[in-house]
């Protein structure tokens, strides 16, 4: 993997984080569009955060031991990149199935959000297949995960979140019909 690729990826990640933080701060200051969660949803989010934190901690410890014992299963870049992906996926899925992922004031846009997230996953998947076909490599190279596998895991994260949203919405719709 070239240095330019790594630098480009790092700059993109930092830019996205900065833009997201600025948007969140502006929204908080204005008080408009502020996420509204009720008390049960806040509890569910706290629980989801706790579980995702524990899992990412376990993952970090496992990675540490695999590095100590020199069991090379993925480059350090991939190992580090998987940490937020695993944490975010677990947090999102637990929140979604406890109806605490999307705030009450954004509930009406749930299908738009689900389709958007799934589409993002599909874009990542296309990017992954493009990289694989160009590089003529596979998911694994020399017994370890290839550099491009991060695209695949990112795609999986978005697709899992999108599908979970659609499943939960379907369950909710059936529940309110049966009420």
């Amino acid at each position: 993997m070239s240095n330019a690729w790594v630098m480009g990826f790092a700059v993109a990640v930092v830019l996205v984080i900065i833009i997201a933080v600025v948007i969140v701060i502006i929204k908080q200051i204005r008080g408009k569009n502020k996420a509204q969660f009720d008390e049960r949803q806040l509890l569910a989010r706290n629980k989801a955060f706790k579980y995702s934190f524990i899992v990412t901690l376990i993952y970090a410890v496992v990675c540490m031991f695999t590095n100590i014992f020199e069991l090379k299963w993925a480059p350090a870049f991939i190992q580090f990149g998987l940490l937020p992906i695993i944490g975010a996926t677990i947090f999102a899925v637990i929140c979604i199935f406890n109806d605490a992922y999307i705030s009450m004031n954004y509930k009406k846009n749930i299908y738009v959000y689900a389709i958007g997230v799934t589409a993002m996953g599909v874009i990542y998947l296309l990017n992954y297949t493009l990289h694989i076909s160009k590089a003529e490599s596979n998911l694994f190279t020399s017994g370890t995960l290839s550099d491009d596998s991060l695209f695949l895991f990112s795609a999986l994260m978005f697709v899992v979140i999108g599908i979970s949203l659609i499943i939960k919405k379907t369950i909710d719709r059936k529940a309110s019909e049966n009420e």
Binding site: D38, E39, D99, S176, E179
Partner: protein, 64 residues
């Protein structure tokens, strides 16, 4: 334990879970969880539900 008192009080006022949820400012799933006994609401939410249904705390949340 299921909160059948809440469910019957809501039904008596001809309100759906969604309508009651909007009245007290929570999600429909929260009302559903309270009725099913999966969630123990805070006193603040209990009083908000009681006000919305014109009932007392004893009427809806006191177990004999």
């Amino acid at each position: 334990m299921k909160n059948l008192k809440l469910k019957s009080a809501r039904a008596a006022m001809d309100l759906s879970q969604q309508q009651l949820a909007e009245l007290v400012g929570v999600s429909r799933q929260t009302i559903n969880a309270i009725e099913k006994g999966d969630y123990n609401p805070t006193i603040k939410l209990c009083t908000a539900i009681c006000k919305a249904l014109n009932k007392t705390l004893d009427d809806l949340f006191w177990e004999n």
